[in-house]
């Protein structure tokens, strides 16, 4: 079969909503785009453990500590599923981690912002997980089978995380003056970076058209961003807090909220490595990996010894 015919067959499958599986023929660009996206997503889960991990030791009650620990642990689990999904595309977890540590692979820029107060644990859950979920719900129907299936598992836990985040803020919003201020401050700091999570405007997004055709993604960056603004603009009323955007207003004719312009200069700067925590996040990951090298070596040395002994016994 010619490449042209294979491509047609591939696109037909996608058009008929048949999932692409690891052994199926796929265009190299499809494989690469999925690999980039899934590994980036896996890295985001792992790096995303850091800003929240920052508050485990200081969680204000034993119950909150348990919830936060379980949440960060879930993120590690999501990283595992996603690395496994990415490995089906022929790239090992070690290679992916190497690319993360060298700066070649990216992760979500949102984790390059610092978590400064306890309220940030609420804002991250509500806004950051909230934004992530919209993307992930869409990805449950993505065309690559292993990615879609990983997303179904992840979405269930993520929506739970978002509710927990909102609940942290709800308690603060009904608390002392200091707690209310802490709550508003966290919303102010996390709002714009959360909007940036959906990526560049559609008019400037390089990967979008092909990804839509291949049904890797099914909604554009701007569509998802609008959906997020509409959702959060309503939820923030329950908290009795405000979003830091004077241009945010309901547009009756569009049936959507209008909102202000994102600071794209900040967006690109953080992408390029100049965010407040880019350096620290990567350093923390590298340090954990490097300090763990002797542990991993010992584990494989022991496994090899054990296998050799078993062989001797069997012989």
């Amino acid at each position: 079969m010619s490449v042209h015919e294979l491509e047609k067959l591939f696109q037909d499958k996608i058009d008929q909503e048949i999932k692409i599986e690891p052994r199926d023929w796929m265009p190299e660009a499809y494989r690469k785009t999925n690999l980039r996206q899934i590994s980036q997503h896996a890295h985001s889960e792992i790096v995303g453990m850091l800003p929240e991990g920052n508050w485990i030791g200081r969680a204000p009650s034993l119950k909150r500590k348990a919830i936060l620990l379980a949440k960060v642990q879930d993120e590690g689990g999501h990283g595992l599923y996603l690395y496994s999904a990415a490995e089906t595309l022929g790239f090992s977890r070690d290679q992916m981690i190497e690319d993360l540590h060298s700066g070649k692979a990216k992760y979500s820029s949102i984790f390059n912002y610092p978590s400064l107060t306890w309220a940030d644990m609420g804002a991250i859950g509500w806004l950051v997980d909230g934004a992530a979920i919209l993307n992930q719900v869409m990805l449950c129907r993505t065309s690559y089978g292993p990615y879609a299936r990983a997303m179904v598992r992840i979405c269930k836990e993520e929506s739970f995380h978002q509710r927990q985040g909102f609940e942290i803020l709800l308690v603060l919003s009904r608390g002392t003056e200091a707690q209310k201020a802490m709550c508003q401050d966290a919303i102010n700091r996390w709002w714009w970076p959360s909007l940036m999570m959906f990526g560049p405007k559609d008019s400037e997004s390089t990967n979008s058209d092909q990804s839509m055709k291949w049904k890797i993604k099914r909604k554009s960056n701007d569509e998802l961003r609008q959906q997020f603004v509409d959702m959060i603009a309503e939820q923030v009323k329950v908290l009795g807090m405000t979003l830091p955007d004077p241009d945010l207003v309901w547009n009756e004719s569009r049936k959507h909220y209008d909102f202000g312009e994102i600071n794209w200069e900040e967006f690109w700067n953080v992408v390029k490595g100049n965010g407040p925590c880019n350096k620290q996040r990567l350093e923390a990951r590298r340090k954990a990996h490097d300090n763990g090298a002797w542990v991993r070596e010992a584990a494989s040395a022991y496994a090899a010894k054990k296998a050799a002994r078993r062989k001797t016994v069997a012989a």
């Binding site: 030791g57 204000p60 348990a66 002392t176 200091a178 923390a284 954990a288 763990g292 542990v295």
Partner: protein, 257 residues
């Protein structure tokens, strides 16, 4: 023994169990997001969660006992007031639990020593007349059995892994062994509960078996043993741990979270 003192002893004993589990959880949760490999990052966080859960059960029970007593200085007590508003000198955790997390070898060895001790202790505790303590012990035993398995396997892997991992285990033994004796020396409030000295032989046997498989030497029994944690005399580590743990409750008194 009067009703008052025996009740106080029961409260102290329960707090001792709670504090050891909490401090162990607080320390091991430092690994979350920083583990040597993702699967183990998840595993140790799971163990931190188990220990935190145990601590909460014990604190909740202690809070109930305190609230029922006529005039207790810790009244009104909740699991959080007991964890967050007591000072360093009131904490009764074992010194072993508050030692720095160190490298993976020290963390593993600490969990191994502690979980073997806990499994022996809880096995006995589940048969004491106090039904609440017995129930918490019985429930926790399943988790502890996993902690013993997980940490034993790692002790063996590291002991019998590479020259470096073996050396790191030797260093860990040297660091931690002097803090193991305290587990088996009874504080006053342990009278009438499980006598910890009766757990020592079983603990030594289990450690010996795993060390033998790990090609690690047993430490001499004549090593000087540090004590004090059970009665509130701690190492300098605990103050910093509590400063972190208790920060928000101390900074915003009376706030709900």
């Amino acid at each position: 023994m009067s009703a008052h003192t025996s009740n106080q002893a029961l409260i102290d004993y329960t707090l001792h169990l709670a504090d050891s589990s909490l401090i162990m959880a607080q320390r091991s949760s430092e690994w979350c997001g920083h583990g040597p490999v993702l699967e183990q990052d998840i595993a140790i966080t799971n163990i931190s969660l188990d220990l935190l859960g145990q601590a909460r059960h014990f604190y909740q029970y202690a809070a109930g006992l305190i609230n029922q007593s006529a005039d207790h200085t810790l009244k009104p007590a909740t699991e959080d007031s007991l964890a967050y508003l007591r000072d360093e000198r009131a904490f009764k955790n074992l010194l072993l639990t508050e030692l720095p997390k160190g490298d993976w070898a020290q963390t593993i060895l600490k969990h191994f020593f502690f979980s073997v001790y806990q499994s022996l202790l809880y096995t006995r505790l589940q048969t004491v007349p106090d039904k609440d303590l017995a129930a918490i012990a019985a429930k926790s035993l399943k988790e502890v059995a996993y902690h013993v398995k997980w940490s034993s396997e790692w002790v063996i892997r590291l002991g019998d892994g590479t020259a470096e991992s073996h050396q790191r285990m030797l260093t860990a033994i040297e660091e931690l062994w002097p803090y193991t004796g305290e587990m088996f020396r009874a504080a006053d409030y342990e009278t009438g509960m499980v006598d910890p000295s009766t757990l020592h032989a079983g603990w030594l046997k289990e450690v010996q078996d795993v060390f033998a498989e790990a090609t690690l030497p047993m430490s001499s029994e004549s090593v000087y043993m540090h004590v004090g944690g059970k009665t509130g005399l701690h190492t300098e580590n605990l103050g910093y741990m509590l400063a972190e743990l208790q920060y928000l409750q101390r900074a915003y008194p009376g706030a709900e979270w």
